[in-house]
């Protein structure tokens, strides 16, 4: 029985993060029973929708053993372009709006992917560069001023409910399903895992490595665009620093959710749960009215604590498993010697 539990946790890291999420949620609840309410959960989902979507998109990149630190800037850029279009005409067409916002994200992601897959630039360097470039283009475009008017009808989009849940939550769920199906059920998605495990191996069995890496970056960029759609509606203003720090939160969430930066492991659901855990921590700080300047200290500390804890648990479980395997081998060996 014990053997089975360790195996499951090792194979499915999202179980560990779910456990931590539940424990954290209820330990806050013990301190203040007011916290445990359906309303709290909905608020966490509502406020965490952007981060969750961006994290899940970026997971595609991390699975291929790359990284994308430009998502925050790209989200800001897509939101700026989208909101500018909404304000530019009296009767904006939703189709063009979607095309602009999602297209900006997709193009930005493709640019990253081209540099990494075809330009020979390592992903962290490439995306650090485009992070600065996207932010620069954003600031140049707006001239450093904020966009603080968004049409009323679009603001209402994120406040509207469908089947009892807010629209952003639905978008989050749909993104999760799409990405999950893509990464688990579709061949192209499985290629990403193969590349993350071993680029050389993937090439030898005939996987088009460059195109798969390019598509992973495109996915990450596209979902930054989806995040931007919600950002415009939910926040209502787009400052020039929109999305700063998003990439850090997203990477941290993905890692907490069991996606290894060494590539090839983890799944999208875990990444989403990791983002929700981070959002729960933030919300609980807000709930206890912790002064704002403590926020970074506490979330930084908790983040490190969780990373240390999960990695120690995984190291421990792996060692346990190795020892068990070794013991089994030795037993087998003894039996054979007797024979």
């Amino acid at each position: 029985m014990k053997e089975k539990v360790t195996n499951i946790i090792l194979k499915k890291p999202e179980i560990l993060v779910t456990l931590i999420l539940i424990i954290y949620f209820f330990s806050i609840g013990i301190k203040n029973p007011e916290f445990i309410k359906v309303d709290t959960v909905i608020r966490i989902l509502f406020n965490g929708a952007i981060l969750t979507i961006v994290t899940m998109g970026m997971s595609a990149v991390i699975i291929t053993k790359n990284i994308d630190v430009s998502v925050g800037s790209l989200l800001g850029l897509a939101a700026t372009f989208g909101a500018t279009y909404l304000n530019s005409t009296d009767h904006p067409s939703i189709l063009i709006f979607l095309l602009i916002t999602l297209g900006t994200g997709l193009l930005g992601g493709l640019l990253n992917g081209l540099g990494v897959a075809y330009g020979g630039v390592s992903s962290i360097i490439m995306t650090l560069g485009t992070m600065a470039m996207f932010r620069g283009i954003l600031t140049l475009y707006t001239g450093g001023s904020w966009i603080d008017i968004v049409p009323e009808w679009y603001l209402n989009f994120s406040r509207a409910k469908f089947l009892g849940l807010y629209d952003p939550i639905w978008i989050m769920i749909i993104s999760l399903i799409i990405l999950w199906v893509f990464s688990v059920k579709i061949k192209w998605g499985r290629y990403m895992y193969a590349i993350g495990n071993s680029v050389e191996g993937a090439r030898f069995i005939g996987i088009p490595v460059k195109r798969v890496v390019l598509s992973a970056f495109a996915i990450s960029g596209f979902f930054s665009g989806v995040g931007a759609l919600i950002y415009i509606s939910q926040i209502g203003t787009i400052p020039t620093q929109a999305g700063i720090g998003m990439e850090l939160n997203a990477i941290a969430s993905a890692v907490i959710g069991g996606i290894s930066l060494m590539g090839g492991t983890g799944n999208i659901l875990g990444a989403g749960l990791g983002a929700l855990l981070l959002q729960t921590i933030k919300y609980s700080l807000l709930f206890f009215k912790v002064p704002a300047y403590w926020n970074n200290v506490i979330s930084g500390f908790l983040l490190l604590l969780i990373v240390v804890m999960t990695s120690r648990i995984q190291i421990y479980l792996r060692q346990e498993k190795e020892r068990e395997v070794e013991e089994a081998i030795q037993k087998e060996y003894m039996i054979r010697q007797k024979e």
Binding site: G119, I125, M133, L248, S299
Partner: protein, 331 residues
């Protein structure tokens, strides 16, 4: 072979710096004023200091994105100890120590968790910048207000002159020599390169990788601390957000200087040259009235083009050499 490739790259960097000087010099004659050139080093020295110590980290195959937060934290800690003890030397020593400890904490966490350094330093960058903000709140200055009122001797560190040459240049020279010797002329430096090239090989020949990683990150922390103290001195006050924009520029410098993000390659002289290249690029763009935001676009572009250019250059030169070898074989 490897050495020749790197030194080739350094020649390219020197060439780029000369091109840059010619272009900016023809656009604005004030650019080539030697006094201006010397004084403008102070504007970007903090980046070069941190990049020099970052070279150690990247050569060993790691990365440290918390260096910017360490700058802010150290400047605040130095400020607080100056207020409490009125002894500026003690305050500086304590500031440097806290930087080293912060770096060592990064190294320690990386060693015990075996998690990618990027994640750990990301987390600790939140922690350090948050601590800086909180501490500056305790010191009586609310929020983003700074701690000022440093003595002249402290402010002179970054703004004084020795033999008619601004201090930043001296600091740059001395630190570059120290770091050069440490990375390229000592056993410690050789170990770092070995660790970056092949950690398993390093482990098999009996190098204490864990200890080395902690030392290495402590050096990076020290670099951040020195940069933070320099910034506090240069701007005459300590703020928690000093150096918040540094990590991108620091990593750009190091990688442009020839360090490989996969570890095993890196050069102090290259980093120094890249630092000068980027620093004077910023300065020159300012001279022709381009804002710092537009400069960022340039910076990102330069980084990407330089690295992909290097990749294609390497590919072409290997192709050329292979063809040459084939030809000589046929003959």
């Amino acid at each position: 072979m490897l050495k020749r490739k790197i030194s080739n790259w350094q020649t390219t960097l020197i060439g780029l710096i000369i091109v840059e000087f010619v272009i900016f010099g023809s656009l604005n004659s004030r650019f080539l004023n030697i006094t201006n050139l010397m004084y403008s080093v102070g504007d970007f020295l903090y980046i070069v200091i941190a990049a020099l110590s970052m070279t150690f980290i990247i050569a060993a195959g790691g990365i440290d994105v918390s260096v910017g937060s360490i700058m802010g934290l150290v400047s605040i800690i130095t400020g607080i100890f100056w207020i409490k003890t009125s002894n500026i030397i003690l305050a500086i020593i304590l500031g440097l120590t806290s930087g080293i400890l912060a770096g060592a904490l990064n190294g320690f966490l990386i060693v015990i968790t075996q998690v990618n350094p990027l994640v750990i330093t990301l987390g600790s960058s939140f922690l350090f910048s948050g601590l800086a903000l909180t501490l500056s709140g305790f010191a009586g200055s609310t929020g983003f207000e700074g701690i000022s009122g440093f003595p002249d001797s402290f402010i002179n560190i970054a703004n004084g002159l020795i033999f008619n040459i601004p201090n930043p240049l001296w600091i740059l020279l001395i630190l570059a020599i120290i770091f050069y010797i440490l990375l390229h002329k000592t056993k410690f430096g050789r170990y770092i390169f070995l660790m970056g090239m092949n950690p398993n090989a390093a482990r098999y020949v009996g190098i204490g990788i864990k200890k080395l990683t902690i030392y290495n990150f402590a050096i990076s922390g020290l670099g951040g601390a020195m940069a933070g103290i320099f910034l506090a001195s240069y701007f005459t006050n300590a703020r928690s957000d000093l150096g918040a924009d540094a990590p991108l520029a620091v990593i750009t410098c190091t990688v442009l200087g020839g360090a490989s993000i996969y570890g095993g390659e890196g050069s102090i002289i290259g980093t120094l040259l890249a630092g000068l290249l980027i620093g004077y690029l910023k300065y020159g763009l300012q001279m022709i009235n381009i804002t710092s935001i537009q400069t960022n676009v340039f910076l990102g572009l330069v980084l990407i083009l330089a690295i992909s250019g290097r990749y294609f250059w390497d590919m072409l030169s290997t192709n050329y050499k292979n063809k040459k070898a084939v030809r000589s074989l046929r003959r």
